[in-house]
């Protein structure tokens, strides 16, 4: 049994088939890539995994337990962290606060603790703060901790989203086009960072990316999605030589 399983999953919106009979098996501690042309349904798979859309048919299992029917926050609490294609930061909050938000469900101070500023409250706050700062350090943006997130340059916002998702202490991290809009230097830096995080924390990563260089370089296994259907999976070598993948990207008569 795989760690994360998508079993024969289909999703339809009023007759439009966004995903059809998708099967994916993800093992722990591996970096996966999910590629495909625009509109293939890559982000839709993320949205199903995180509980935004319940699948029309089929099942999604994490560690053997079905995620279907669970709310997004419950799935997040079970260890699925994600970033967004169109960045969704808490813009008016500081960089540090953004990450601290992710610790909400793993901390416990009550309203009374907050109001009386109890010992519990102080201990927990400083603990969360320390952990959040560590994550910022990992992403190399700790010097920006007190800046409002909305004021960060684009590349740093992408990094902050990853730091925030890590705050959940996820078992699996879903990255939706983490390198979109970055220049080659930034992309290279981010690629190394993702690789490092995945290794250091030994977590599963599934990333959607259009930058083929990035995907081929770091992903151990790649899924190819075309028009809502999985057409191929395997290592970079297999993918690059697969007829259907080439057809999908280059078009065929």
């Amino acid at each position: 049994m795989a760690f994360l399983e998508i079993n024969d999953m289909s999703l339809e919106f009023g007759g439009v088939k966004a995903c059809q009979n998708v099967n994916m098996k993800l093992e722990p501690g591996i970096l996966y890539g999910l590629i495909g042309p625009n509109g293939a349904g890559k982000s839709t798979i993320f949205n199903v995994l995180t509980g935004i859309y319940p699948p029309t048919r089929g099942d999604v299992k994490l560690g053997g337990e079905s995620l279907v029917g669970h709310k997004p926050y419950e799935i997040a609490q079970r260890g699925v962290g994600r970033t967004f294609q169109n960045i969704r930061l808490f813009k008016e909050l500081t960089v540090l606060q953004n990450v601290m938000v992710a610790f909400y469900s793993s901390s416990h101070s009550t309203i009374a603790d907050m109001v009386f500023e109890s010992k519990n409250f102080h201990n927990e706050e400083s603990e969360v703060k320390t952990k959040a700062l560590e994550l910022l350090k990992v992403m190399g943006i700790e010097d920006l901790a007190e800046v409002p997130a909305g004021g960060l340059p684009y590349g740093k916002q992408r990094k902050l989203e990853i730091a925030r998702a890590l705050g959940l202490n996820p078992k699996i991290l879903l990255l939706d086009e983490p390198a979109a809009g970055l220049n080659p230097t930034e992309t290279k830096e981010l690629t190394d960072l993702i690789r490092k995080i995945q290794k250091d924390r030994n977590i599963t990563v599934l990333l959607i990316e259009h930058d083929m260089g990035l995907v081929m370089k770091i992903c151990e296994k790649i899924f190819v999605l075309v028009q809502g259907q999985l057409v191929c999976e395997g290592t970079a070598d297999i993918i690059q030589n697969d007829k259907r993948v080439i057809e999908a990207y280059l078009g065929v008569d």
Partner: protein, 333 residues
């Protein structure tokens, strides 16, 4: 010294200030009544009876404004029914004290009245919140407006609390010192909630509900919490209002009152606690200060100027007077 003790110490200091204030304003009287709950029997020229009551009203409005800020400013929930919660609190507290505890000592009346007011208002807030928080934006505003008006019309039709005649002869036991103390406590409570994990979750939901959801936060749970805390406080404000005025009429709690509280938030700066206080100050004091203008012009331009000021602030300074800044003592660090 532990942090809890620091909070207690702070409370004791404020309480002492409140007692001293009462002592001075009552003309240096040392009876327990004068120190804790009676309005001054005679005014010594430090403050006129009129300004004394404006100050009490100001405190009550600050409580209302900061409690709405928790919903509107921090959690991003637009509601137009704050007057309804205030009404529930006012009538609950007045009924409890008038019917059940007419001869009890003042502090029992105060505590029982305020707690009953807060609890009942919070309970109603819980039910309204759980039923309507599926709605967003303007729709939530509209439905809360509807609930608030229904509450008012129900109260209007309960004969035991005076119906259309109003509820009179309510025991009066709030004076400036005690209201001021409670106001400061309310502000501090809201500040500390804002700066804790609950407050961060609220702000996150306001900024991006979807992302907050993906960070393991149950938005409905946080919103209901915000709703209950806010209505609890608005209910308490109603209680203090009832026992400082001694008379209640349902007309006080019409949607115009809800709008007034929203205006306090927005004029001061939505999302700023300091702004909520400042807005309450301006919108309470302005109409009173304008009475002087009326003395000069001979026409009642008061409310016209008040309305005009509101419009002008919105046009010239859309972010409100404070923007999203805080005074130092209310900032999160």
């Amino acid at each position: 010294m532990s942090k809890l003790n620091k909070t207690v110490l702070l409370f004791l200091i404020f309480a002492a200030v409140a007692v001293v204030l009462n002592f001075v304003l009552s003309g240096f009287s040392v009876t327990p009544g004068a120190l804790f709950y009676e309005k001054p029997g005679r005014f010594t020229g430090l403050i006129s009876p009129y300004y004394y009551s404006v100050m009490i009203l100001l405190c009550i409005n600050v409580i209302l404004s900061v409690s709405l800020a928790l919903l509107n400013g921090f959690t991003g929930l637009f509601t137009m029914g704050h007057a309804g919660f205030m009404a529930i609190g006012a009538y609950t507290s007045a009924s409890v004290v008038y019917f059940l505890l007419p001869t009890a000592p003042f502090f029992i009346q105060l505590i029982a009245g305020a707690l009953a007011a807060g609890a009942f208002s919070g309970l109603v807030g819980f039910f309204i919140g759980t039923s309507s928080l599926r709605l967003n934006g303007d729709y939530l505003g509209m439905v809360t407006l509807g609930f608030s008006e229904i509450i008012r019309i129900i109260l209007l039709n309960i004969d035991a609390v005076g119906g259309a005649r109003g509820f009179s002869d309510i025991p009066v036991y709030m004076n400036l010192g005690s209201v001021l103390l409670i106001t400061v406590i309310t502000i501090m409570v809201i500040k500390r909630i804002r700066d804790g994990r609950l407050g961060r979750a609220m702000l996150a939901i306001k900024e991006n509900e979807m992302a907050a959801n993906m960070m393991g936060i149950n938005p409905l749970n946080i919103k209901v919490k915000a709703f209950v805390i806010s209505s609890f406080m608005a209910g308490m404000a109603g209680s203090f209002f009832a026992h400082s005025e001694g008379y209640l009429s349902t007309q006080t709690f019409s949607f115009a009152k809800s709008f007034e509280v929203i205006a306090m938030n927005v004029v001061g700066g939505l999302g700023s606690l300091s702004g909520a206080i400042m807005g309450a100050g301006i919108l309470t004091v302005l109409p009173e200060a304008l009475r002087k203008v009326q003395d000069i012009t001979g026409v009642d331009l008061r409310m016209v100027i008040y309305a005009l000021t509101m419009v002008l602030i919105m046009i010239l300074r859309p972010q409100g007077l404070m923007g999203n800044k805080e005074w130092k003592w209310l900032s999160s660090k």
